[in-house]
């Protein structure tokens, strides 16, 4: 009986040691689930999901702290793609997050702009053209409608307009 206990304990210890060694040898992984998830998102950094960018949202999904239905610009297509990737069922878009931001574009009232450049610094996709002390304007084809440029403007010259077609 004693030999039995010793053998079993020895076996357990040996196996655990093996596992620890292997774990140490392997280290961390290069890619992650978050990479694959991020590729499926629209990547327009609009922050409508509540996370400060597409990468943080992807990581939140990967670590199971966010649902897959929080991206309005991606819409049903993105939800379906994410569900497909993660082997889950698609779910309807979270209504509380509002409409997709890409349907709107920012517009600068050029006559009011004072050239402080705060909006251009904040735009995540560099859709604002202008240099300090000069008038700024929105490159509409690049604008993702994220509205991050509206708060910093000291003269409140930026508004959101809907895109035509």
């Amino acid at each position: 009986m004693l030999t039995g206990i010793i053998i079993l304990v020895g076996l357990a210890t040996g196996l655990s040691a093996l596992l620890v060694i292997v774990a140490r040898l392997l280290g961390g992984s290069n890619s992650s689930a978050a990479d694959a998830i991020e590729n499926l998102l629209p990547r327009i950094q609009c922050a409508q999901c509540g996370y400060p960018g597409c990468r943080p949202y992807a990581e939140a999904i990967a670590s199971n702290s966010a649902d897959i239905n929080r991206c309005p610009p991606g819409g049903a297509e993105t939800i379906r793609a994410l569900a497909e990737l993660l082997g889950r069922d698609p779910m309807p878009l979270d209504d509380s997050l509002g409409q997709a931001s890409m349907q709107k574009s920012a517009l600068i009232e050029e006559s009011i702009c004072i050239g402080c450049n705060r909006c251009a610094e904040v735009c995540p996709v560099d859709a604002i053209a202008g240099v300090p002390q000069r008038m700024h304007t929105i490159i509409t084809s690049h604008c993702t409608g994220c509205e991050l440029c509206l708060p910093p403007c000291p003269v409140d010259c930026i508004s959101m307009v809907s895109r035509s077609a």
Partner: protein, 510 residues
């Protein structure tokens, strides 16, 4: 004339009852001048032409009445002499639907006076100028798709045209206008083909005709022998729908599969309808711009079905009158053939350059509306698809609006031929669903492109921000070091002054 053996057999396709013998019994009726012509200013796939005439103005046959505004447009000409009585919007059938277009209404005078003594038109000096001549002649593809022939010939400037295909296949049921044109005017067609061949510099030319048109094949062969044309060969195709499709012809004759986002001209192939070749001949040899075309008028509700050389703008009602009028109540009026044609609500609409056929179908000719049953996954649809698609999977994705799946299943390759509809035992309206779903794929592709571009811009933005942060830190370090350097110097100076004072006080003291 040499025969050309097709390199491949057509993928898929269906054999359909032709329904062409009714309209090929008589020769083409010519010289029909209706009392009014409603000539649309949009006679091609692309921009409309701008009218250059005014109400009340008298026009002669061949006179330009609307000019193309851009280089990819074509001019529109008066088909006969008369007076302009109106320039306003009318419903006009073109490109798979009826749309409101600006039309020029001509009241004909019956005299059919031409604008000038027409004769051969001299070829312009450069290739580009000659192509522009073709656009000014109003020549568009007469196979039904109405692409500007000039624009098609321009194609990819860097790619040499290696094969000109003259399309005399006419695979769709009911349509026989190309057949009759080949029987009656084979030499003119081949002359037009030779002109085209010379214009694009193609070393080879193949005229493709389906095997169920023996008279046309004989006529063309005889004419080719008489004209003694080099580099021209005839290919006989089995009568399978849709072997007359442009991409299908390129695949069958040259063995090359052209993907949907590219054109045959990107691969060095140019495909023109026999009617287009005829129009080219008429323009360069007789000086006649394109203002009329052969239209098949058929269907069990027409008394004497036949082909009519109709002036552009002839109301369809006049066409049917010229063929003996209605023999019975027409259940449906179709513009085009039974597969890719679309329905017209009334016969007051006028012929455009895309009108190859008008079918007045009697009630017993029209297939009764069948109830749709669930898909039994028999696979017949994918067996007949000429584009090698899987309609049974596509229709599920289309109904779910799953744009990702539609892209993976290559919906954009669908040529909307309708073969899958014909064979489906459950009567599922497949082609209709695909037509509705195509815009979804388009918008997904656009979104994908926008996403990738935004991602790129974001990464560059982040890089710049990081660089700026690093630069700012380096600046701070530099300043810190400079400041500490200054402090050390000040420290050393103080120490030295202290030492000096000390020594001074020592020497003073002692």
């Amino acid at each position: 004339m040499l025969k050309f053996t097709p390199k491949r057999r057509l993928t898929g396709g269906v054999r359909l009852p032709a329904n062409k013998t009714e309209s090929t019994g008589k020769s083409i009726r010519r010289g029909l001048i209706p009392p009014r012509l409603i000539v649309s200013t949009r006679q091609q796939r692309g921009p409309a032409a701008k009218p250059i005439v005014e109400i009340g103005q008298g026009v002669l046959r061949g006179e330009t009445i609307a000019r193309a505004e851009k280089s990819d447009g074509t001019d529109v000409h008066a088909p006969t002499s008369g007076k302009i009585i109106a320039i306003e919007n009318y419903e006009s059938p073109l490109l798979s639907k009826v749309a409101l277009e600006l039309c020029i209404v001509i009241e004909t005078d019956g005299a059919d006076l031409a604008i000038q003594k027409r004769g051969p038109i001299e070829f312009a000096a450069t290739r580009e100028d000659r192509i522009r001549q073709i656009a000014s002649a109003g020549i568009v593809g007469l196979g039904g798709a109405a692409y500007s022939t000039a624009e098609k010939m321009r194609g990819e400037p860097q790619i040499d045209c290696k094969l000109l295909i003259i399309n005399g296949a006419e695979c769709e049921p009911y349509i026989s206008c190309d057949d009759m044109l080949m029987r009656e005017s084979p030499e003119q067609i081949l002359d037009g083909a030779a002109i085209l061949q010379q214009l694009v510099g193609a070393p080879e030319c193949i005229i493709a005709i389906e095997r169920d048109k023996p008279q046309a094949i004989d006529a063309i062969t005889l004419a080719a022998d008489k004209l003694d044309l080099d580099g021209l060969r005839i290919a006989e195709l089995p009568s399978i729908y849709p072997s007359g499709g442009e991409r299908q012809l390129v695949e069958v004759l040259a063995g090359v599969e052209v993907p949907s986002e590219k054109y045959p001209s990107d691969f060095g192939f140019l495909c023109q309808n026999v009617g287009t070749a005829y129009a080219v001949h008429r323009f360069f040899r007789d000086g006649e711009p394109l203002s009329s075309r052969v239209v098949t008028v058929t269907g069990a509700a027409v008394a004497e079905p036949r082909n009519v050389e109709a002036m552009i703008g002839t109301p369809i009602a006049d066409l049917i009158d010229a063929c003996g009028g209605y023999s019975r109540e027409a259940a449906r009026l179709i513009h085009g053939g039974s597969m890719m044609g679309f329905e017209l609500s009334e016969d007051s609409l006028a012929v455009t350059k895309a009108t190859n056929c008008v079918v007045a179908a009697a009630p017993d000719e029209v297939k009764s509306e069948n109830r749709e049953w669930p898909c039994i996954r028999c696979g017949e649809c994918s067996m007949v698809c000429p584009a090698r698609l899987q309609p049974q999977d596509l229709v599920i994705a289309a109904r779910e609006s799953n744009a990702q799946a539609l892209t993976e299943l290559a919906l954009s390759e669908c040529i909307e031929c309708g073969c899958c509809d014909v064979v489906c035992p459950s009567h599922i309206p497949l082609t209709q669903e695909f037509r509705k779903a195509k815009p979804l794929v388009q918008s997904l592709e656009e979104l994908q492109a926008f996403s990738d571009a935004s991602d790129q811009r974001f990464r560059l933005h982040e890089e710049r921000r990081q660089d700026a942060t690093i630069a700012a830190e380096r600046q701070r370090d530099h300043i810190k070091r400079a400041l500490s350097h200054e402090e050390r110097r000040a420290e050393e100076i103080r120490a030295a002054v202290q030492r000096a004072r000390q020594r001074k006080s020592e020497t003073d003291g002692s």
